[in-house]
Amino acid sequence: MSPLIEVTKKDVVSETWEEPFYLNMGPQHPSTHGVLRIVLHLEGETIVDCDPIVGYLHRGVEKLGENLNYNQAIILSDRLDYIASVANNTAFALAFEKIFNLKVPRRAQLLRTIVCEMARICNHLLWLATHALDIGAMTVFLYCFRDREWLLNVFEKICGARLTHSYVRVGGVRLDFTSEIIDELYKFTEEFPNRILDYETLIDVNRIWLKRTKGIAVVSAEEAINLGLTGPCLRGSGVPYDVRKFRPYDAYEEVSFIVPTGKNGDTYDRYRVRMEELRQANSIIRQCLDKLPETEGQPVVADNAPDLLIPEKRKSAVALPHPKKGYFFKAKEEDVVPPGEAFASIESPKGELAVYVVSDGSNKPWRLRIRTPSFVHISAIPDLTRGHLIADLVAIIGTLDVVLGDSDR
């Protein structure tokens, strides 16, 4: 039981003691982004303390992953952060490729980079939409959804799914881009910067928006690192930590982009960082698209990539000396997958998404650990909200960009 709730049971017979005012926010609440539940201890409208309670969407993905084979586990990853599922696919695939010792073909790397940045744009658009809606600006919501719809349609052309893509597989990607998709993406990248200007004119110079976001939930650089905030939340505090730059994966070494950072570490700076990231993502997609013709016709999956259904056992014949007939063959069980452990992390749109896999040689991972940004960000909510008002709590949940599927796994 939460220690916050236990306080109410205390029978204090003092005249000055007042019963604390508790407010149970969630799990069904319009602005907790899913099934996040927060028990608030209020004094008037000020939050004295709060206790986020997660687990309402716990599906046991880690346990499930230990009982499915590697390629099946990637499909589970779609269900984590269902807004940018390609990013999760990539994180899983990168970790598994380290286990399998695979080298991904260059074209597949470029395609992965493109879809990851597309997912970033999708995610940030949805974030902007819901964040603005939480603060009360309704129109931005629909403008963002209009553009997100465009990208989702492109995703549908790429892999047939709009949200749960499963586009990335161990050793590459499932399908190559058609010329139609490339044309559509060129059109999108041409148009999208103007759309960003649209959103900015709607809220950037709005006095109420500035009042609601400036100076809210200020995190210093050291505290942000200590709290484990990653992604735009960390960069808003001025730390230029970005996995794409610090430990590059896929084709991020080839493309040039800048990592935007904020100064004050408040909600407004995080908003600015994300808006800038939208532009950067757009330019990354553009650069990768320009590089695609060089790799025309190359395979998109590594040659030695495992089949989609990895066999449970593999047996090979071993010749042993026979006491009478010279020698005989004996079946020996071999490892399907090299044993060992691997750690891979990517810069998912929400923050650092890390996967730690331990393999025991069978076709299933022995341990599949997923470090998701939302889980860490939710754990930081009490430290960020103390002393703020209820209205700010809503803005803070929005600015941390949490998805409960990502947090609860």
Binding site: G228, F246, F343, Y356, R369, F375, V376
Partner: protein, 175 residues
């Protein structure tokens, strides 16, 4: 990086059991539980390992290539943002003495990671300010990510609070 590892090995020879670098994606240190807190504190304060990426438990019950006795491992992934150093630290914990020192006072991130580790493996963390379950309900029995935890529960075993709720409701209805 190698200098750092060497220095660490010399300075904390009682804590660090082995250092594995070959065939690994990251330099891996296997540590003893005793003296672990000082070691981590040194890493954080002197060597700039300011960012705890991940903390998780692993259950090695009946693992094929196991070369140690203890059942559990707690794995820390530490990163130093200023120096770009990456370390994996493992602490092995036996089932009968199932606890580990908490690093929450050093890294606030570890708070929920340790709660999750306790939730899933039953490893207690000494010095944790608020150790209770995170993802599973507070009255859940067993530790789901342990290898001996059954994949399917008996269907007739209802969740206790739900049963109570139904009974209470039926009683209210009856009266």
């Amino acid at each position: 990086m190698e200098e750092l590892l060497q220095e660490l090995q010399e300075k904390f020879s009682t804590v660090i059991l082995t250092v594995e670098t070959a065939k690994k994606d990251l330099p891996t240190l296997i540590c003893k539980r005793e003296g672990f807190l000082e070691f981590i504190k040194y890493l954080k304060e002197e060597k700039g390992f300011d960012y705890l990426i991940d903390l998780c438990g692993v259950d090695y019950l009946n693992y094929k290539y196991k070369n140690f006795e203890e059942r559990f491992e707690v794995v820390y992934h530490l990163y130093s943002i200023p120096n770009k150093h990456f370390l994996r630290i493992k602490v092995r914990i036996s089932e009968s003495d199932c606890w580990q020192y908490s690093v929450t006072p050093l890294y606030k991130t570890a708070n929920w990671f340790e709660r999750e580790c306790y939730d899933m493996f039953g490893i207690r963390f000494k010095g944790h300010p608020d150790l209770r379950r995170v993802l599973m309900p507070p009255d859940w029995e067993g530790y789901p990510l342990r290898k001996d935890y059954p994949l399917f529960l008996e269907p007739e075993k209802d969740w206790e609070p739900y049963k109570e709720l139904v009974e209470k409701y039926q009683k209210e209805r009856g009266s």
